[in-house]
Symmetry: C2
Subunit: 215 residues, 2 copies
DNA sequence: TAGATTGTTAATCGATTAACAATC
DNA sequence: TAGATTGTTAATCGATTAACAATC
């Protein structure tokens, strides 16, 4: 694992979960969502099957999560579901800012997929005075100069970069110093965030390069 | 490493590169792009500094890549740059299909970021007869029934899913059986591709969940 | 109790890194 | 040659997994 992958999150007073462990959580959740009321308990074998991992791995993951099952019985479906949702931060809606009100930013603002998954667009920013003041979806385009202030005061805690390549790094740094918790970068350039900054940062352009590797 | 992460690519007659190794390549490339003509050689220390990794890690990565430097001197900048670009499949333009000509699909079709990074939109599909035939960007919306045929005949080798949650899994399976090499999923739902299928698949909705974890 | 399944130990596997001989 | 830097070995680290005692 490189530094980036090794980046860990330490909830206060809780065990450290590896990035690999966290990445399996949504796969467990998928089965739990399907089961719902149909079944009160689920075994590590069933979860493993659904997630495509080893049953021992499931038991270790849930144990690391501090969630315990009952020997001979399994894990309580509803409780486990809530526990994982809380862990992933999807037990409540998240406020996201879109930076860049161009072609892509505007489309993302109206994209129902984010909303369906619990991400609400709280703000959209641009530097162009022509765009500032316009209504995009539910929100009015704000001058990009306010990004730092708005982030620091909690208007949003997640940001989507939909800016030109030339501004991406600068905006990312501004967001980081204002304390944003996550950045999803759609700009066609790699953006570097230091490893010691507690931001989970997914660089789409890098992903595309990696993607293309498998072609 | 879960199964998903452990998925490896085996170029014919070439060493196997781990996903972790591949993920560092774009970071090396970034420095090499910056250097260009300014410097003929680069050391593992410089690459390590730029990529935020250990110098020994750099040397091992390049060695695994089959690229060798000169002791006491370093690595040839231009040659290394070409070698990595070839490895990542970004030494040539890639043809991508967008599935779904709705709000998001249309925006992505016109998004210059893809084009700038070497991804050309070769086709856009939809099932709605109202949308089929319309011009979106450079291409005319085609009936989704042709996806399998067009992929199999090489019209594109990468796909972007911009469909509703309900169709995402079905479309992904169709693309996989037609032999697509990469899928980038923008649908607001997780899509499962078996581990033994040689598709590099980045599930944006899963990433979003992981993202939110760090908030 | 008998069967099932967890939780944890110890073994295994793979990736990272320190160290240094090779050599430009 | 003297200094620099690679390429590789061996040590280390961390994550996965087989196995099984604990226990419902």
């Amino acid at each position: 694992m490189g530094n980036q992958e090794a980046q860990l999150y330490r909830p206060p007073g809780m065990r450290v979960l590896s990035r690999a462990t966290v990445s399996r959580m949504p796969r467990y959740l998928r089965l739990l969502d399907d089961i719902r009321e149909a079944q009160a308990t689920v075994s590590s074998d069933e979860l493993a099957e659904a997630a495509g991992v080893n049953p021992a791995n499931v038991r270790r993951d849930l144990s690391d999560l501090g969630f315990h099952g009952t020997r001979g019985v399994g894990y309580a479906v509803g409780d486990l579901r809530s526990r994982i949702q809380r862990e992933l931060g999807i037990d409540h809606r998240r406020k996201v800012a879109i930076v860049g009100a161009g072609n892509l930013g505007t489309a993302l603002a109206g994209y129902s997929g984010f909303r369906q998954r619990g991400f609400d667009v709280a703000a959209i920013y641009d530097i162009s005075s022509e765009r500032v003041g316009r209504l995009v979806g539910d929100v009015i385009v704000t001058d990009a100069g306010r990004i730092g202030h708005d982030c620091a005061t909690g208007l949003f805690d997640m940001a989507i970069l939909a800016v030109p390549a030339t501004s991406a790094q600068r905006v990312a740094e501004e967001l980081v110093s204002a304390g944003v918790s996550s950045i999803l970068n759609f700009a066609p350039v790699r953006v570097i965030v230091p490893n010691d900054v507690p931001v989970r940062h997914v660089d789409l352009s890098t992903e595309l390069q990696i993607l293309s590797y498998y072609g």
